[in-house]
Amino acid sequence: MIKHFISITLFTLLISCIQDRKDNVYIEKKLYPNEELRAVLDSFVFENKKLDSICEIYIDNILPEFTSIIIYSGHGSCTGGENIYYNQRPLGYTEISGVRFRIFSGMEHYFNLLENMENAPKITSSDLSEPDLKIYYENFLYFNSNSIWWVLIKNGNKSTLYRNWNEVYPYNFYPNRPVPGVFTVEIKDVCDEDE
């Protein structure tokens, strides 16, 4: 009896695994951050007790040795309008203390996880509330007073972490500092720096 039960269970699992592959299930790739980034992400999760539903990481290689990494948490996706407009979905994610961070790098503009994207989950305005989408759709910007941005700048071996940087849009000009005539966005605070 036990033998039969084990056989059936194993067979079912096997079929399930095969079926998953056949069905072309949309599975983002789980990635593991290096030690330094892991420490920053740990701090991000630890220091921001009430993280919003969407947590994201943006990798921007500005020069071969220089990279800026934006760590974001907010009610909607930081690039929600852009993702809907261009049909972009993250290709990977990482998980820190139970918090799932979606990873963007620009690759999602040209590549998908599935050959036939009809099976992929639809991108809707659920990542971005409808009124916000209407307001910011044209320039894709998404601002929410409760959103959190940290920026980690890697300059060769030197790392600088800017906490609580307001309203950064990945891959765009930043930071939005209060410079009269250039920016209309009011900035609340000054950034801290950690060497």
Binding site: I6, S7, L10, F11, L13, L14, C17, I18, D20, R21, I27, K29, K30, L31, Y32, P33, N34, E35, L37, I59, D60, N61, I62, L63, P64, F66, T67, I69, E82, N87, L91, G92, T94, I103, S105, G106, M107, H109, Y110, F111, N112, L113, L114, E115, N139, F140, I153, N155, Y162, Y169, Y171, N172, F173, Y174, R177, V179, G181, V182, V190, E193
Partner: protein, 197 residues
């Protein structure tokens, strides 16, 4: 019975391990159009093929398409790609900068890329530097292209503030403090405003 169990367990492990190994991704239409053109220029399949995606603005991208006897850094690429594509009987490694900070294995440090096969040097390496400005594509042949940080060769009209933004981002990296950056920003505000117009 034992044999059946053994085979079932082995198959299960094999199948489910493969499922996790989702290394391969799929190019969308705009990328396949580029790849079709690129492949016509590189008829030899047995080469190292690499794609570098450099997002430089909301709507603007730089892409390097490379095919050669060694990797694009002349055999110096130490970090393996996290993603690959199979296209027209070829395998392309896809890089975007993520691989610098993430690996697909929990074991750190990440594995160093295996030594590349030495391909017969039958022809010169081929590299395209592609500028994609909101769907406007410029293809430039490059001999010694370095991934990331390439300057645009064509005007970027779609995002008037892009060039300044990129320049400012780069300047930011050389500032020790936010105050230094802010001083630089204020000093250059006239130029920035002029360029913005």
């Amino acid at each position: 019975m034992k044999k059946i169990l053994l085979i079932s367990i082995s198959s299960l492990i094999l199948c489910c391990t493969q499922k996790k190994d989702n290394l391969y991704i799929y190019p969308n239409e705009s990328m396949t159009q580029l790849l079709d053109s690129f492949i016509q220029e590189t008829p030899n399949k047995n080469r190292i093929n690499q794609i570098y995606i450099d997002k430089i603005g909301i709507r603007n991208y730089h892409i390097l398409l490379y095919s050669g006897n060694t990797d694009i850094n002349n055999g110096q690429c130490k970090i393996p790609a996290l993603y690959k594509i199979r296209y027209a009987d070829r395998i392309f490694d896809v890089f975007s900068g993520v691989e610098e900070f993430f690996s697909d294995s929990i074991n750190q440090p990440k594995t160093v890329m295996e030594k590349m096969k030495s391909f017969k040097k039958d022809s010169a390496n081929i590299c395209w530097f592609v500028e994609d400005y909101n769907g406007r594509i410029y293809i430039n042949e490059e001999n010694n292209a370095t991934p990331f940080g390439k300057k645009p060769l064509h005007p970027v009209d779609s995002s008037g503030f892009y060039l300044d933004g990129q320049a400012m981002k780069r300047h930011l990296l050389f500032c020790d403090t936010m105050e230094a950056y802010h001083r630089w920003l204020v000093k250059n505000i006239d130029i920035l405003l002029k360029n913005k117009e």
